[in-house]
Symmetry: C2
């Protein structure tokens, strides 16, 4: 007897990550039985297409969640905090892409290529998916860790505007339109003057023709929440609770893929040739490292693709145990919808469906 | 008897650094006697204004160099390699901003705030000024080194298009104009398609809506010349020939100031409060570190100013001996013309003029 296919609820279907998720669900069309699209009451009533079928978006409620085997939460943290326990309490496995449960020791934080097994132990019925910047680097770093044993990370991020949602992309577009036609000089204030009334959007400073060393909220000792999140998430996913991680997050005027400059130190001496072998054969990673032919990933080329792209692999010139890498990943695909979809599919494949 | 004022020759007066230098020479109007403007034969005959006086640009020759007490070379390395020894051989002190002599052990590499004394020992009659990315970070890092004792640097640069000269800025402007009007999606290839015929310019990949992890030429083991240069120059300027330095250079779509994310490790434990004191009182540095009020330097705000700006000062969360910093500096001012002018003025002040 063939088991029925699992029912899926997508909470936050109308957002930027939701839009990418609908495409992934349509590509992986044979995984799920019923697919329900849920969102805030404000967005309820809209019609979206998934697997070629127009589907009405319903408000998230106890009733609209009832009977789902898996619920994919692509909504803000406060929505997940409110509704994920409701769904999980009724036996639905929740996969949450928001930050709401990422620090909860009873909620596994999962990247299927690295610690997929962790999704099987979920005391609250909730599995969390990491943030987009961690996801830009973790598959590559995790593969190298498995071989060489990671002992320290220093990372500097080049974060796309899209990491701040649709409002971030809209603000960048408006700012670029404002400055593109002007004959900017290089006097202090030129960029701010050219921007005129263009909205700052969610950024702490203008992003067009600029980089902004800030994302997230202010935490203790001058750290931003995004920087501390990379540290906390990397430690949890790799199972290295004491790993030293120093992260700096900088927004760059890029639409849709995050890049990270990674300095990774290991227990054992590293060889670039061996690192190349590992990266070239790791699931979810594409090695693109041929600088003689301008072969390295850039966010404009990587956006819209699934893998983590890795280039510029070098051994630190003064430390045989350290590697430098430049990694890029789409912040809405592997950095958002794709990782959550991978978790949900793995969970669903092991559900005892009648 | 009052000594005569020294005569200055500016070689490469017509370039981007030259333009900034003419402004600096006009501001410091009482330092020099005669100021001669020299350039390639192609640019000879043009008239530029310095200290309010229209001045004809002459071709650089033995004759046009003769009699200068100091020659500021702001020209490409091959011009410096050809003409600096000619000038120095006739008793002119050469201050060279090109890479031509930066690795020569008989040519001091000088940043006046850090190792100004080194300019006094110049066996070849030549003093070199470092590259623009080193200059973006070295004044801040050098001040902290003097207090805490630097033992390791990991740096990721956010290099402006202007670091690739006027051709870099022109290419970025053209690319931005091409993409600004388009409704870019986030599909692979969107940016390259939108760019159409816009010139790549001196960059290894499109720079508009992108970041490009490459600058300079390919060296051994996958390193770029710019990355190795930061290492070599930092070691020489700080007098730390064995200092471990791992640098990653990435171009960003910014016009005119370089930024660097710095992870600096020291011999002694560091306190942010003490680091703030040092940076706030170091010549050539402006501390701007108030994240609660969005207080941190960005290249769009820093361009056109003289100092090295420092913000985001944090102690590494897992290492009491390491600091994270975000530094910004105009690549044509301190990163180009200003540092060379400072060296030239210090040298000139000690010349035995009759």
């Amino acid at each position: 007897m063939m088991a029925r296919k699992p029912a899926l609820a997508v909470v936050g279907a109308t957002g930027a990550v939701g839009a990418v998720m609908l495409g992934i669900l349509s590509q992986h069309a044979d995984v799920w039985g019923e697919i329900r699209l849920l969102a805030s009451p404000r967005s309820a009533g809209r019609t979206l297409t998934v697997r070629g079928e127009p589907t009405e978006v319903r408000a998230v409620t106890e009733e609209s969640l009832a009977g789902a085997d898996v619920a994919l939460f692509l909504a803000p943290g406060e929505v997940a905090a409110r509704w994920a326990p409701v769904a999980a309490g009724r036996g639905t496995v929740v996969v949450d892409a928001s930050p709401a449960f990422r620090d909860d020791p009873d909620v596994p934080l999962v990247v299927p290529e690295i610690n997929g097994h962790a999704a099987r132990v979920r005391p609250l019925g909730i599995v969390a998916s990491p943030g987009c910047t961690t996801l830009a680097l973790i598959v590559a770093v995790g593969a190298l860790h498995a071989e060489f044993g990671l002992t320290e990370l220093v990372v500097s991020a080049y974060q796309a505007a899209g990491g701040a949602g649709r409002a971030g992309v809209a603000a960048l577009r408006e700012q670029l339109a404002a400055v593109a036609g002007t004959e900017l000089g290089t006097a202090p204030g030129d960029v701010r003057r050219a921007l005129g009334d263009a909205a700052a959007g969610p950024f702490a400073a203008p992003l067009a023709l600029n980089v902004v060393p800030w994302s997230g909220t202010l935490q203790a000792d001058g750290w931003s929440s995004e920087e501390l999140r990379i540290r906390a998430e990397t430690r949890r996913i790799l199972g290295l609770p004491g790993l030293p991680v120093a992260a700096t997050c900088v927004r760059v005027p890029v639409i849709g893929a995050h890049s990270v400059s990674v300095h990774a130190r290991f227990e054992r001496p590293v060889e670039v040739a061996r690192a190349h072998e590992i990266l070239a054969t790791s699931p979810g990673v594409v090695l693109y490292d041929d600088p003689a032919a301008a072969g390295f990933p850039t966010p404009a080329d990587v956006v819209g693709t699934d893998p983590t792209w890795v280039g510029r692999v070098r051994r630190a010139p003064d430390d045989e145990r350290a590697l430098e890498l430049f990694v890029c990943g789409d912040n809405l695909r592997k950095g958002g919808a794709l990782n959550a979809a991978q978790i949900a599919e793995a969970v669903a494949a092991e559900l005892p469906l009648d």
